[in-house]
């Protein structure tokens, strides 16, 4: 494994007119390895986008704003602030959150712009440039709609074409700011899988920011967790075992369920309830009850639900102080429980 990108005592922030710049993060020492997928997570405003832009050299680090501060981003061992912009564009590709208003540009035209740092002054594409563009389009599986104007492409298709454009730069490091933001769940999973495969097969380092915690925990080789002015890094499992997520998301009322690896909402004053039953019917019932504010208990509780499987479908029996009521759906059960607690 080789180091694709590295920071030394990097401070990030942004300038404020006539005052000292605002520091978001200080003294960052992190590395990105070739071939790994890293997810950057953290609350809004923590500085995810600023970090990505600083790593891409699009925004000066605080060292650039305030020379007294040290700090640098190294790509292939060279300080990003010192390399020629063209050379930099051949090493780092970025996909931003800002939406395009592409006019008459086609998907293929957009991807071809990724060859900008390689072409001559007229921007002519050599046969090799064209081969790379074709490869990039195929790598994100966008061949089908690459010939269409961007305006006729869906959000997910545009996002893929933007990633293909960054790939066409043949960068060693690919940075993506919330690539799954506009996508539905299946597209999000598809996109993450695509990026993970790209990291594996092309040996690029891919760093992406996302708000999709569960997906990030499942897909990422490593997590960069930005919270309260600090950056925690590590394999998702290491961070979970170390209690880093718990500490970071406590204030938000979310806890990580250590058994399932999924996040659950914290509700206060939970009433225990016991559920009997089998298989997925029981799992979904427990999930609905948790959402309704109950905690699933494995021993004696005043409330008890029996999930019965009948040939006609599932039935739910609620036991309370010796009375039993039967409900045809989970919704009816939860509604009845809600009324009871009022």
């Amino acid at each position: 494994m080789t180091i694709a990108l590295q920071t030394h005592a990097l401070s990030i922030g942004y300038p404020v007119a006539r005052r000292a710049p605002i520091t978001l993060l200080a003294d960052l020492d992190v590395t990105l390895q070739s071939g790994e997928l890293v997810c950057l997570i953290g609350p809004n405003g923590a500085g995810k986008s600023t970090l990505l832009r600083t790593l891409a050299g699009l925004q000066p680090s605080l060292a650039g704003l305030q020379p007294s501060l040290a700090g640098q981003v190294l790509v292939g061992g060279q300080d990003i602030a010192q390399i020629d912009p063209r050379e930099r564009a051949q090493r780092i590709g970025i996909v931003l959150t800002e939406r395009l208003s592409p006019g008459l540009l086609t998907g293929y035209g957009l991807v071809a712009l990724g060859r900008h740092p390689y072409t001559d002054w007229m921007g002519r594409l050599s046969p090799r440039d064209e081969a790379v563009v074709q490869w990039a389009v195929e790598a994100v599986a966008a061949t089908e709609y690459a010939a269409r104007p961007l305006e006729e492409c869906s959000d997910g298709q545009r996002q893929k074409l933007l990633i293909a454009r960054a790939l066409a730069q043949e960068p060693a490091v690919l940075l993506l700011d919330e690539p799954t933001a506009y996508l539905d769940l299946t597209r999000r999973v598809e996109m993450m899988r695509l990026l993970r495969d790209l990291a594996r097969t092309t040996g690029r380092a891919i760093l992406l920011s996302t708000h999709d915690l569960e997906l990030a925990l499942r897909m990422a080789d490593r997590i960069w967790l930005l919270a309260e002015g600090a950056l925690h890094t590590g394999a998702p499992e290491d961070l979970a075992l170390g209690g880093v997520f718990e500490a970071a998301f406590q204030a938000a009322g979310v806890t990580l369920n250590a058994a399932t690896g999924s996040f659950v909402l914290q509700n206060e004053a939970r009433e225990p309830i016991r559920v009997f039953g089998e298989g997925s019917a029981r799992a979904w019932t427990e999930r609905a009850l948790e959402r309704a504010g109950f905690s699933i208990s494995s021993n004696g509780a005043a409330l008890r639900v029996d999930v019965a499987q009948t040939p006609a479908g599932s039935r739910w029996q609620l036991w309370h102080n010796g009375d039993a009521h039967e409900y045809p759906t989970i919704h009816a059960l939860v509604s009845a429980l809600r009324e009871k607690s009022h």
Binding site: L96, G109, E130
Partner: protein
Amino acid sequence: MLNDSHLGSAEAIVTARTTPLIPAAPAQAPGALPLRTHLRIPIWPFALLAAILIGLFLLTLALGSVQIPLDQILKVLAGGEADREAWTNIVLKFRLPKALTAMLAGGALGVAGLMMQTFFRNPLASPDVLGVHAGASLGVALVVLTTGSIGGEMLAGIGLAGDVSLAAAASLGAALTIALVLLVARRAQNSATLLLLGLMIGQFTAAFVSLLLYFSVPERIQAYVNWGFGSFSGVSWAQMPILVLAVVAGLLLAGVLGKSLNAMLLGETYARSLGLNVQRTRIGIIVATALLTGAVTAFCGPIVFIGIAVPHACRGLLRTSDHRALIVAAILAGAAAALAAGLIAELPGARIVLPLNAVTALFGAPVVLWIILRWHGAGKVFTS
């Protein structure tokens, strides 16, 4: 140079990379239609524009208060003498400089408008969006309305834009505005600041000019208003080299910027991520636009409409956002539009001459609307 040759050319430089990250793939998957064919731009729109341009050029030489037969015009253009000496004189002394001026001005304004629309990512941007017209008009207003050096009676009838002091005043006003814009551009973080600056310069000069008008006498006001109508007839052979030099320099600079303008379509942040030196590109675009618009405004007055309409017409015709093709199309279409406007303003056969700026919009707006609606869904033509 406009067809696919520059897009698919084998002689283009292959930049060697230290570590090729992808295997040397074949140029295309066997059997699959190569996608690059979609980047090709057909040649016929350029041929069409060139044919229209040549036709209008010959018409401009032929029509006017005196009609001259086509074969006589060709004879004069070939360096010979027409059957009547007056015809040779009319063509060489009046109509040829007028046609040349119109073509230079139209091409310059078309390209300047194209650059401004991409630069500001705004379909409403025009060549004078940086305040060049405003600066020039202030210069002219100061000369015409305040100094007594030009007699009112002398100004009333003759070709005003041809007056050297007017051209000089307009140049100076435009140049000062450009210097101010460049000064701000070096510090500005985004193009919206420049848009605002251009707007402010326009408002400021309009207010100042209206003050000058308020305290001026009718003849001088008339002279100022006449300058504002615009004219292609005021450039003599002696002044022509200056106009040619400025316009050609501006167009060459625009041509060099073609690749950068394509990258700017994605916005400044993406352009920077592609390795574009945005600051240098920004200065380049401003200098090119200033050269083109400044020279035209100084010699022809503030010509409106061509600069805003021609780029839209070209995008509608070519259905591409590739500036390398659009720049060439804008030169041809802009020159043709200016010649057409000049022809209509002269009202061949009639004694009166219409104000040029009224003609450009009056006849141009429906044509551009037709192109946009006919060739593409309205709105898709816009770069922004």
